[in-house]
Symmetry: C2
Subunit: 118 residues, 2 copies
DNA sequence: CTTTCATATGAGCAATTGTTCATATATTGT
DNA sequence: ACAATATATGAACAATTGCTCATATGAAAG
């Protein structure tokens, strides 16, 4: 918090912004959600599950990836509480476990659609 | 598109979902935004710039990082068109260049606040 | 024009990530 | 009990990432 001397720092502005920042804990949780969606395979998985559940095998087809690769990524998303699963015999069905993820994806679609007018 | 035989695949459901998926191009752009926000330093930078512009030096203080590290990350965010900058003498001020990023962050804060009730 | 200060950049390196391959577990059918 | 099938997991490895350190650029002041 001790903003040092002899530098180009605008202490006033820094202090203002410092107060407005969320606690570290929250920032890290936000990072985790973004990280979950920041890989093409994982994003495709989540996109695939927006409307209906799917089994591992179907998700692998949808993502053009091996069952194993998908299983690894499903574990990541499960651990992050983005997805949940239910077992039906040999088959395991995955579905969304986070109501907010849909909204996040919607926003990112907005970003992409209204492409930059630079 | 040729969904193979002899497998546990539910072709019906896979086809439905396949049609609902955005084109690869769009998915990659979405991934890029999420990637931009999926690092604690970069997210903190963007959070710091939500309300007002800051110079590189101030951002470094706000993020507890070296000027160099911040400069590297600012370049990443500039390249991704998340930030823009303006020069005032020796000092360079950075600010948001993407109206949608604010909304994205808002959504992720929602996610964090209404913490999972599992 | 030389020095100083703010920022940018390149090389290098440790840490992390996403996949493959081999193997394990779980459930069903024979 | 055993084989077959769906999913999960661990080790290994290449690729990517985010930082540091040294150095370069660009602007103001002496």
């Amino acid at each position: 918090m001790d903003i040092c001397k002899e530098k180009c720092i605008n202490e006033e502005k820094v202090h203002q912004t410092l107060e407005s920042l969320p606690p570290v804990e929250e920032i890290n949780q936000m990072v985790d959600i973004f990280k979950a969606l920041s890989d093409p395979t994982r994003l495709k998985i989540v996109l695939s599950l927006l409307e209906q559940e799917h089994c591992v095998c179907d998700i692998a087809v949808l993502c053009n990836q091996s069952d194993s690769a998908i299983s690894h990524q499903l574990r990541v998303l499960r651990t992050m509480k983005v997805l949940k699963n239910r077992r039906a015999g040999k088959i395991v069905y995955y579905s969304l476990d986070d109501e907010h993820v849909g909204a996040l994806i919607e926003m990112s679609l907005n970003h992409v659609d209204h492409a930059h007018s630079h």
